[in-house]
């Protein structure tokens, strides 16, 4: 168990993605991008829709192959998905045929842990997301916020070096979102995984991340990287927070204008 759980650095080296449609049309989703993420760092990717941020995340997960370049975890090229890189999906992706604790135990079982160990670890993580009493519930009995907490517990339970989160709170209401951000931060501060977090919400990115990566309109590339030099817990009403917001929205607005212009061209 000791070797697992170490967070690892990620190196993205000229990673690009071109999708080829059935009619042979080539769409560049992500231009070759180079970026380094330190071990234990919390990185957010923000950008206009279709800027390739989810594509980049899928490449890091190993669910998608890069068309060019390669991504390395701790110097080792990513080849396909691995339990060392956990993922949290916007649509929760809980297994409906398993109950709550069964979902959290899923990856632990794949790692070959015995029943008692699995139970204990899963229970610990459920406790840290406040769902200890829901362990034996069916997942379809849970609200969206609770489902995502189960998914977070499931992703952290296998002690991956990296956690990839694809708009995890995008489907939740504002209040639930706020409390889940806090819980995620608490879990992250305890376990210090490398986190890559895709979001549409600028305040969310600022509240959570060490660095925010702003991406350009399609084909996506890195427009700017903003270090967030604020202590946790961060006060969203503070001037410093507002300054970051202003700066990031400034960068984003230019890209959004491009996106709209692009969509206008397609429409006309």
């Amino acid at each position: 168990m000791a070797t697992a759980g170490e967070s690892k650095p990620i190196s993205i080296q000229g990673v690009g993605k071109v999708f080829v449609s059935a009619t042979g049309e080539r769409v560049e989703a992500l231009s070759p991008t180079t970026f380094d993420i330190a071990a234990g760092e919390f990185i957010s990717l923000v950008g206009p829709s279709g800027c390739g941020k989810s594509t980049l995340l899928s490449i890091l997960a190993g669910l998608l192959d890069a068309s060019s370049g390669e991504a390395l975890i701790d110097g080792v090229p990513i080849r396909g998905p691995a339990i060392d890189r956990g993922m949290v999906f916007q649509s929760y992706a809980l297994f409906p045929w398993l109950n709550v604790i069964g979902n959290v135990e899923f990856g632990l079982e794949r790692m070959g842990l015995d029943k008692r160990e699995r139970r204990e670890i899963a229970m610990n993580y459920l406790t840290s997301v406040g769902l200890k009493d829901f362990a034996s519930k069916q997942v379809n009995e849970l609200s969206g916020g609770m489902k995502q907490r189960v998914a977070i517990a499931r992703a952290f339970a296998t002690k991956p070096s990296t956690i990839l989160m694809d708009e995890p709170f995008g489907a939740l209401d504002a209040l639930t979102r706020r409390s889940l951000q806090k819980q995620l931060l608490a879990v992250w501060e305890e376990h210090r995984k490398t986190v890559v977090f895709v979001t549409h919400s600028v305040p969310e990115a600022i509240a959570l991340s060490d660095r925010v990566v702003v991406m350009t309109a399609r084909p996506g590339s890195i427009k700017s990287v903003i270090n967030i030099d604020l202590e946790h817990p961060r006060d969203a009403s503070s001037d410093a927070f507002r300054d970051y917001e202003r700066q990031i929205y400034g960068d984003l607005d230019a890209e959004l204008a491009k996106t709209f212009a692009l969509e206008g061209q397609v429409a006309s």
């Binding site: 669910l63 890189r85 999906f89």
Partner: protein, 251 residues
């Protein structure tokens, strides 16, 4: 009380059938060999039960259906999973399936007799045809309908091989549809065996019916029909019970 509410519609249906039956007898006064009154059928039912003849026929029909249905499931479910997961398999087999599927299993009875005679193999063959397609089509649909994000979740949670992904994610995710398909295919198999036995058998509920026709015993025919109906309902209930027990979907 809940139990009562559940069986009340069945009792109502039985009362309705007997009422219509008796009304027809009172109005049209058919000869007793064409449409006997309910008590005579009840007496025949009792007679067939006491002599054990009825159970011999039920056993014969059930044995054929269960073996053919199990055989159909053994072929249809793996094939359906392959068609649902591998586009090339689907492209290859789909035209064949679509061509054969509309042919009623009853249309296979003449060939079954030519090929297998009137022994057990022919009837198993007909039921196999009847049970195969519903099981196959539900399995294909169930596998194709799996949310891809569940497959991705399985992959990032340590299902590294195709077989692990299949056992841990694909199969359980498709299970509600597969079981529904098996339930429907048992029903179509049950319908097919009666038809096959009508034409070519010396035992089974279908034989009981066709024999009743030949010896002008409508009461025997009706007993056969009632038993077929009751067993059909019982098996459907059994499947729904199993479905609720082992499968996660809402039914």
């Amino acid at each position: 009380m809940k139990q009562l509410l559940r069986i009340a519609p069945f009792i109502l249906a039985a009362v309705a059938i007997v009422t219509v039956w008796w009304s027809v007898i009172l109005v049209f006064k058919p000869h007793v060999s064409l449409l006997p009154p309910p008590p005579q059928v009840a007496a025949e039912f009792w007679e067939l039960m006491v002599t054990g003849e009825l159970f011999t026929h039920i056993g014969a029909s059930l044995g054929r259906v269960i073996s053919a249905w199990a055989l159909a499931a053994l072929v249809a479910v793996p094939l359906g999973v392959a068609m649902g997961r591998l586009p090339i398999v689907e492209h290859l087999l789909d035209p064949l399936v679509e061509l054969i599927r509309p042919i009623s299993p009853l249309a296979w009875i003449p060939l079954a007799i030519l090929w297998f005679g009137i022994g057990e193999a022919g009837k198993v063959f007909v039921v196999f045809i009847g049970a195969f397609f519903p099981a196959l089509i539900s399995t294909v649909a169930g596998v194709k309908r799996i949310d891809p994000v569940l497959v991705h979740a399985g992959q990032v949670l340590g299902c590294n091989s195709r077989s692990a992904l299949f056992r841990k994610v694909v199969l359980p995710a498709a299970m509600p549809n597969i079981i529904t398909g098996l339930r429907i295919s048992f029903g179509t198999g049950w319908a097919a065996i009666i038809a096959a036995e009508l034409v070519a058998a010396r035992s089974g509920l279908g034989y009981l019916i066709s024999n009743g026709m030949e010896i002008l015993r409508a009461d025997q025919v009706i007993v056969g029909m009632i038993v077929i109906g009751i067993l059909g309902v019982l098996f459907d209930l059994l499947f729904r019970f199993i479905q609720r027990r082992i499968s996660w979907g809402a039914f």
